[in-house]
Symmetry: C2
Subunit: 152 residues, 2 copies
Amino acid sequence: MSTPRWLTTTEQRAWRAHLAVHKLLSHRLDRELQEFGLSLNDYEILVNLSESPGKRMRMSDLADATIQSRSRLSHQVSRMEAAGLVAREDCADDRRGTFAVLTDEGWETMQRVAPHHVASVRDHFVDLLTDDQLEALERAYTPILEHLKSIR
Amino acid sequence: MSTPRWLTTTEQRAWRAHLAVHKLLSHRLDRELQEFGLSLNDYEILVNLSESPGKRMRMSDLADATIQSRSRLSHQVSRMEAAGLVAREDCADDRRGTFAVLTDEGWETMQRVAPHHVASVRDHFVDLLTDDQLEALERAYTPILEHLKSIR
């Protein structure tokens, strides 16, 4: 391997700030969702299903959308199924497998929790940034996202 | 609860970009570290210990620095101890508990892995941003970090 290009001070500060913000923030949002019996991962599943036609997604698509392995998603969906938030459904004319479907209780839970969650996201992230900063953040992150998706 | 202030399009795009970048990025860095038998969490522990005086930290301080519970850290340190990367040491004249210490093997592992890890961080994040963007990112994230630390 050629001589490592260590990070400059500017690079290191930005990189560590990104890591630390995400870690503290996800920890905080997780804790605030726990009051409603949900984790941040649970909430993400509810959002994905609620935005899909028929409030259902193929398990493999849901794993892609939430960036996790099929087996890890399967465990999580089992827990959420036990809590009555989602159901699994086999699709008779589609051998590509199982769907996860948002139950009425899952939908109601999301409706109830969403106002609190959006307040958390505002308090701990969005409202601490100006519109210019939010736009700059998205501009900076879009090529990174495209790159990361292209190598998945 | 008063009427929710839902996120505007700009806010939602920035927020989702932040979440997605972090998720894809940590997944990728984790995978690239797996070639060396480490997770991103393991690497973070090695970095924290290597930067501390005597390459050792009190377990409670290490839990704070890596933003996780004592019990979760304890499990992780046990795995890393089994791999020979760290050792636990009781401090005779300090009843506040156990230290985690970087072993020679842990130090050598970090030296060997660091050039690869920094290349990953460059390829998938740092080198995709300009210096101006990196500085803006840190400026935007600093008040968020301060806020999140103040409410821990």
